[in-house]
Symmetry: C2
Subunit: 151 residues, 2 copies
Amino acid sequence: MDEERVIALLKGRGLKVTGQRLLVLNIMAAHSDEHLTAEEIYDLAKISRPEIGLATIYRTVQVLLELHIINKVTFDDGYARYELTGEDCPSGHRHHHAICTACKRVYSLETDLLDKLEQQVFRSIGFEVTNHEVKLYGLCESCRKKNAGNE
Amino acid sequence: MDEERVIALLKGRGLKVTGQRLLVLNIMAAHSDEHLTAEEIYDLAKISRPEIGLATIYRTVQVLLELHIINKVTFDDGYARYELTGEDCPSGHRHHHAICTACKRVYSLETDLLDKLEQQVFRSIGFEVTNHEVKLYGLCESCRKKNAGNE
DNA sequence: GTAGCTGCAAAGTTTTTGCAGAAGC
DNA sequence: GCTTCTGCAAAAACTTTGCAGCTAC
């Protein structure tokens, strides 16, 4: 994982490289397929550093957000969630999620088919898109199969 | 506005048609171009019914959500927002928002260019999309013009 | 050594819940 | 008349802030 880049970003802003910040970063890298809440990061952090405080998680997440190392997403369940910004898109572009309405699992998608939509939006209302987030709600494969059997 | 349909939906579920519920509904219809928070609905409701409580707004919104009359959206600013489900799309399909990162205004979009994306998602991971929400972040026309002048 | 960071606890926000009285059907 | 709803206040849930001590540089 790209720890060097993060260290450089922190130092470049006069911020300090602390064990807590690297820990949060490593936790997020180790769970890059999930979308962790602050509480979940906290629980994972406590495993290797039991004295850590939840406030530190919130403050660390704030810093990482400002450095555009992570992104904030919400799935309307009352929790703010965080995920690493994709390596190959420095601007943080390209965020797609498929949310199963049955099992609540979240799948991350990589495709980027929104260029057309963005062009059309620019032409129609003069809005210049710099980033986007797409949430698809529906049924994942396993829930669909389960449903087919039951009802 | 389609008050009849809502009354029918309420009665069909054994729920009561109260002045407060109709008031919230009418407020949302009168502000269908905005994305009101519970607090904003509350303030508008107090104009015609000063004794109303904020808890009633939250409970009413919950009911309207369950009846799929309104939708919940979040723009990651700590507030849950609500909007009427489009008349012409009973499933609540088609939710696009363009959020200006400068002035924080939210523009609603009507286009639906996600069919291709949805088909691809189904083919690749077997996820069947029933609804979607798109957030485009960027600069709206007026902020873009302001920026061009300043910096 | 100085600035910035951390942990704890306390406070702030948004949303939910409990309960007695009121209203719908 | 019975059930559901409302308003108020208290509580819960998530996040932020204040402060004294600690750590990075």
